[in-house]
Amino acid sequence: MQSSRNRAAYGFLAPYLLIFAVFWIWPIISSFVMSFQNTRINPWTFSPGANWGRLFSDPAFYNALKNTMIILVIQVPVMITLATIMAVLLNSPLLKAKGLFRFAFFAPVVVGEVAYAAVFRLMFNLDFGIVNKLLNAAGIPSISWFAEAPAAMALLIIAVTWRWAGYNAIIILAGLQSIPDDVYEAATLDRVSKLKQFIYITLPLLRPIILFCVVLSIIGSMQLFTEPFLITNRGGPGGGTETLGLFLYRQGFASLNFGYASAIAYTMAALAIAISLLNLWVGREPK
């Protein structure tokens, strides 16, 4: 009866669980095992030093890690701040033509990575790119976005921020809209200024959502692949924008060294878990 009814649950769950087990659980275990195997000889043998030992002495790894961290540390705060500003301003009852602004900020979210990578490559071209032409028109000399590492990094950060700020703004806006109006009405009756309302009511209430966005963005940016692959031409100049994702791609799918790539993947996983835990710690309820 009740138990037979609950047995139906396995039927509903089975197809998904099958896919989940084959294409999620098994790979998670498999890549963990592989990270301890030398996959450059046949058959693969257990040899932790082959990958983990090499990883921590590989300058290319430290370069990719460094680049990824620089992007994280600059891009995530810039983007979340922008996203919060977008969300707060979009939420203002004073705003005219709200739909138009929403479209402007949210549209990049649906644009494919390849399409926007192509556009950014053209826009930031040294001699013919519209960005340099506009800079020149304003009296600023051209920047060689693709030939100098710092400029190339800046380009990646600009591109990723453009693509994902609206995404975070949507989430933050949803959070803003879930704050009941009467809280603000009560504050207004108490003669609390709009700015103070924002600082003392809005921001504290938004904190969990902003933290959620920060974690999502960190984990997303950490896996950055398509942008350095396509925009800065495989991490150029000379590895100046090579990220962990790209480094892993080169090791795993260009050199077909699966064990080493798995070790890189698990390094990313460890970072992701650390960041999630840090978030739990930062976001914990004050005692």
Partner: protein, 278 residues
């Protein structure tokens, strides 16, 4: 009263003064995509500032098609995205239903694993997935390879589960008392009621599949089986290539999605706001 409306006016003015330039900057790349797509290559690489569309879209499209069979790639992308969306919504809905509405052995374990894998980087699974699909199953450059592995979707399951658990349980009890079978309850009552959630999820999943780049790049790189993003990606970075053509391709990739986005903005935003998928 007067001073209040004046301060509101000033606030409104400064609000628009911030937002209008920001919106223009944000729209600029999209605008330029359309402009580039209509320009001949000599226009794109002219030393002048060109901000207005030209008339060479059809020509660019022809160039693109000459560089790669983009029409075919678009058809593959469209078919894959549709099949994937249908299957994924169905699978996640079924699993979400099971996790929302039944008590069974192992339930909390399943939920725990699904939750635990959410923040795990995709790169952890993509290597063995590639080995398995390409080497062991020998399925590279097939439809199955494009559609099936990405069907796992933790956030979609949680999203559907949330929707089903918010439905009043008396509704399903009423059907049980009437002798309606469990699968009929799911199909005839739960699914129709979850339609808005499924719409939001379907849109996000479709978008995800349509734009997916890394997995199709790895698994389906043979010319005849490339998806549109992969086909376009192979052109970027080539020296002898029509950039107007690439931009025309980018427009073909982007425009349909933008139209859908404008029409179904509400569902899009609902899906993203729920964190359905990144």
């Amino acid at each position: 009263m007067k001073s209040k409306s004046r301060s509101a006016f000033i606030r409104s003015l400064s609000l628009h003064a911030v937002l209008i330039p920001l919106a223009i900057i944000w729209l600029f790349p999209l605008w330029m995509m359309f402009v580039f797509a209509t320009m001949p290559d000599y226009g794109i690489f002219s030393p002048h500032i060109e901000l207005l569309p030209s008339t060479h879209f059809a020509e660019n499209l022809g160039n693109l098609q000459a560089d790669t069979d983009f029409i075919r790639a678009l058809m593959i992308s469209l078919s894959v995205a549709m099949i994937y969306t249908f299957l994924s919504v169905l699978l996640t809905a079924m699993a979400g239903w099971a996790l929302a509405r039944y008590q069974f052995l192992g339930k909390s374990l399943v939920i725990g694993i699904i939750l635990g894998t959410i923040t795990l980087p995709y790169f952890v699974v993509v290597i063995p997935q590639f080995i398995m699909v390409a080497r062991e199953f020998r399925l590279a450059n097939t439809w199955v390879a494009l559609i099936v592995p990405p069907l796992f979707n933790s956030l979609g399951v949680l999203f559907m589960r949330q929707a089903f658990s918010m439905m009043p349980s008396e509704l399903f009890d009423a059907a049980r008392v009437e002798g309606v079978k469990e699968w009929q309850i799911f199909l005839r009552i739960a699914l129709p009621l979850a339609r808005p959630t499924m719409a939001a999820l379907a849109i996000i999943l479709f978008l995800h599949s349509w734009n997916n780049y890394l997995w199709p790049l790895l698994i389906n790189s043979r010319p005849g089986m490339m998806t549109a993003p992969v086909a376009l990606g192979t052109l970027i970075g080539l020296t002898k290539v029509s950039w107007g053509g690439i931009m025309a391709g980018a427009v073909l990739l982007t425009a349909p999605i933008l139209v859908v986005f404008i029409l179904l903005q509400r569902h899009f935003i609902a899906g993203i706001a729920a964190g359905a998928i990144k």
